[in-house]
Amino acid sequence: MASTSTDATSHAAEAASAPGMPQLDFSNWGNQIFWLLITLVAIYFVLSRIALPRIAAVLAERQGTITNDIAAAEELKAKAVEAEEAYNKALADAKVEAARIVAEAKAEIQADLNVATQKADAEIAAKAAESEKAIATIRAGALASIKDVANATTAELVSALSGKAEDADVAKAVDAQMKG
């Protein structure tokens, strides 16, 4: 083949294809449409028979898992809330119980204290009465002694001053003096 002829043919081909678009060359539409239909059918069967059911199943399974997990989490949360409530209730009960025990103990102690105070008061009163009695005895004793001493002293004084003393007179005088 001469180079001029190849040039000419390529030029001719160029001229044929350059102005028009290959898209508008209807001679190959049949071919394209034929293969396109095969392609679409192939893709359709691959998708509808294998891919889409598989992905749908995976997505459904995942959704199920997520739903289950959320339900489980909610259940656990409810349990936790329940446990907290029980704890709070126990705490409140314990507080009430403690307050009750404290009050009881206080009352008991108060009662004990009262009893002890009363006992002590009674003892003190008894002791005081006893003491008063003792003091009265002592005082009486002391008065009698004073009288005796006064009588003796007076008698001595009188005897020392006048040489002679009548016991009865002395006693009388002392009595008078002590009363006054």
Binding site: E14, S17, A18, M21, P22, Q23, L24, D25, S27, N28, W29, G30, N31, Q32, I33, F34, W35, L36, L37, I38, T39, L40, A42, I43, Y44, V46, L47, S48, I50, A51, L52, R54, I55, A56, A57, V58, L59, E61, R62, T65
Partner: protein, 252 residues
């Protein structure tokens, strides 16, 4: 200067932005028959492989806690499923495998088309017209099967004044039949335009002085095309859902 001239001589400035869309038989010959295995066939097959890798191989472990590859499959599933449910309604969920097929094919083909030296199958009207017509026919058939003659209520805007309704009905009918056209041209046009622009920028790289700018432009354009690849698949799918909603609930 010399290199510039040289580059131009080599055909650097002779752009063939549409050559990338040529359909060539893979195993010799020039004739493209109905069953000829072409580059389009190859990249459609690779799209199937990509879908299988993403949706089947990625999810093979069926883990409750997904691996990265499984997450991608689940993400794609959830993305389209939610779209169908939100846009077309709960009763449209039974069309989910069809819509998923459309979405997975378009998104795979768009991204595979962005690989260097690859072939963008979705840049061909032959492909997008079939997709759009499939949606159009499905929606029309479903509409009539589900609602009977009531489906025609879609064109009868009962909320408008009576005098306006015939005119609106005409407009609605026209817009209904324009749907597959816009639906298909939007996808193929976006993909084709992006790839052609990349090719044009690449052509400028033959000029040494311009080539750094050209590389930057190609990079930026490529980023945009990555975006377009996904967005166009998304738009195609969501419009399918919108049309499906019309078929299931034709009242305005």
């Amino acid at each position: 200067m010399a290199s510039e001239a040289h580059g131009a001589e080599e055909g650097g400035l002779v752009f063939h932005p549409m050559d990338q869309f040529n359909i060539k038989p893979l195993f010799g010959g020039d004739h493209v028959g109905l069953f000829t295995i072409t580059n389009a066939t190859l990249w459609m097959a690779l799209a199937v492989v990509a879908v299988v890798a993403m949706m089947v191989i990625g999810t093979r472990r069926r883990a409750i806690v997904p691996s990265r590859s499984q997450s991608i499959g689940e993400l794609a599933y959830g993305f389209v499923y939610k779209m169908v449910e939100d846009v077309a309604g709960k009763d449209a969920v039974k069309f989910f495998p069809y819509i998923m097929t459309l979405f997975m094919f378009i998104v795979s083909a768009n991204f595979l088309g962005l690989l260097p030296m690859s072939f963008a199958t979705t840049s061909h009207f032959a492909v997008t017209v079939v997709l759009a017509m499939a949606v159009f026919l499905t929606v029309t058939v479903v509409g009539f099967v589900k609602n009977g003659v009531g489906f025609l209520g879609l064109f009868w805007v009962s909320s408008a004044p009576l005098a306006l309704r015939p005119i609106l009905a005409l407009i609605e009918v026209i817009s209904y039949f324009v749907r597959p056209v816009s639906h298909s041209i939007r996808l193929a046009g976006n993909v084709m335009a992006g790839h052609a622009v990349l090719k044009v920028f690449a052509g400028f790289a033959a000029i040494a002085v311009v080539s750094p700018l050209s590389v930057v432009a190609i990079t930026a354009m490529y980023g945009l095309e990555v975006l377009v690849a996904f967005i166009q698949a998304y738009v195609f799918t969501i419009l399918t859902c919108v049309y499906l909603k019309d078929a299931l609930h034709p009242s305005h």
